[in-house]
Symmetry: C2
Subunit: 231 residues, 2 copies
């Protein structure tokens, strides 16, 4: 978990946070000069619930999982982190503590940027402040949608939603390797791992997906979306 400065530039970064477009070149330069990279292997923790929020984190490459540590060690995955997202929880503006845990799902290169610098821009660049409000608002909106999914849909619907999410949002491909284990897929859809396995098998039997270990191919997207809706 070595943290070391690196001299590539934020100004030509293809994965930079969209809100950085609101910064002036000089401001972006400040960000770039206060930037640190760290590498993680699958499963490694990037930060834990309760720890202090000193930096915002941006993935340069790889995927991470963001989850709440719940009751009796049962986790609830609230999101999959990918490059171009900012990972900094609500604690940033409240108690400077993390309110979720963030771990690597794949090999990850993460970029750390000091939060005091980013928070400082709120007072000097109002477009940036508004961009941050937009960013948080989008996450809140996704949260609403997710809350409805988890509380009002039955298991097949929740699982189908997550497959559609992986296919359309994360990989933009009808074929992909699941980034989550069966247990984690359960943590994501709020179901037991045994139920995940059984319902994935049902999808396979009904020729909605093909599956080989972590490899998934969505064969009948229409049927899958139908299950999303009434499930």
């Amino acid at each position: 978990m070595e943290i070391s400065p690196k001299d590539c530039s934020c100004s030509n970064c293809p994965n930079r946070w969209s809100n950085f477009n609101n910064l002036a070149p000089a401001e972006l330069e400040i960000v770039c000069q206060n930037r640190y990279e760290a590498k993680y292997k699958p499963g490694e923790t990037i930060f834990k619930t309760g720890s202090p929020t000193s930096s915002a984190i941006f993935l340069v490459s790889g995927l991470g999982k963001v989850y709440l540590e719940g009751i009796d060690g049962k986790n609830l995955i609230i999101g999959i982190a990918q490059p171009s997202m900012m990972i900094a929880g609500p604690g940033t503006f409240i108690d400077t503590r993390h309110h979720f845990t963030f771990t690597a799902l794949t090999d990850v290169v993460a970029c750390f940027i000091d939060l005091s610098i980013l928070k400082g821009f709120i007072h000097t660049n109002t477009k940036f402040a508004e961009g941050w409000l937009i960013d948080i608002s989008k996450k809140a909106l996704e949260g609403h949608y997710r809350l409805l999914n988890l509380t009002q849909k039955k298991m097949p619907g929740r699982l189908a939603e997550s497959l559609v999410y992986f296919s359309e949002k994360l990989y933009k491909n009808s074929e992909f390797d699941l980034p989550l284990s069966r247990q984690e897929l359960g943590d994501f859809t709020n179901m037991a791992k045994e139920s995940v396995i059984r319902i994935l098998k049902e999808f396979e039997d009904d020729q909605i997906i093909e599956m080989q270990n972590q490899r998934i191919r969505i064969v009948d997207k229409d049927k899958l979306k139908l299950i999303c809706n009434n499930g």
Copy 2:
């Protein structure tokens, strides 16, 4: 639902949004001059999901419910609105559409303030912008807690949580009138109204609460909190 200007002042309003403390007197005066009041009776809709967000809403008196309209007409109440809160959803910064429905639970006097004015202050008063970020962040944090509650606790735990919420947060009293019907209590805790009734009765039988229609008295708060934790 008459909307009419009124000449009481925001500067001495006991229920004003805490973020208005960050405004200069002249700015607060602008707010005050662009303020409209409306009265609602219990059950009346203040705004609907999908409608345009033209104003932020602040309750002067009364209580409201904020809810998502879910599948098959099943609602999910995501919060109870009370004076001093700002009610303006994530749509404010995204698509200028409401993403939840807001209705009156009691007689309500609501204050409407034009969102373009409030959003304008983000660019002229950075403390105000930061205050808004803090406000949204607090709501996001509550959302996390709520998500865990709804997904990981069993019915008695969820119902106990809501009773503790009413007692400690909303009324600050061990005795109170439920602001929600049994059906709405179900919408709040994600359970069927019949289950709400049964479990309330269990609490009564176990002498944890006393109950007469909407009147609730919490007799054994320790036991109730115990149920919150392991339920």
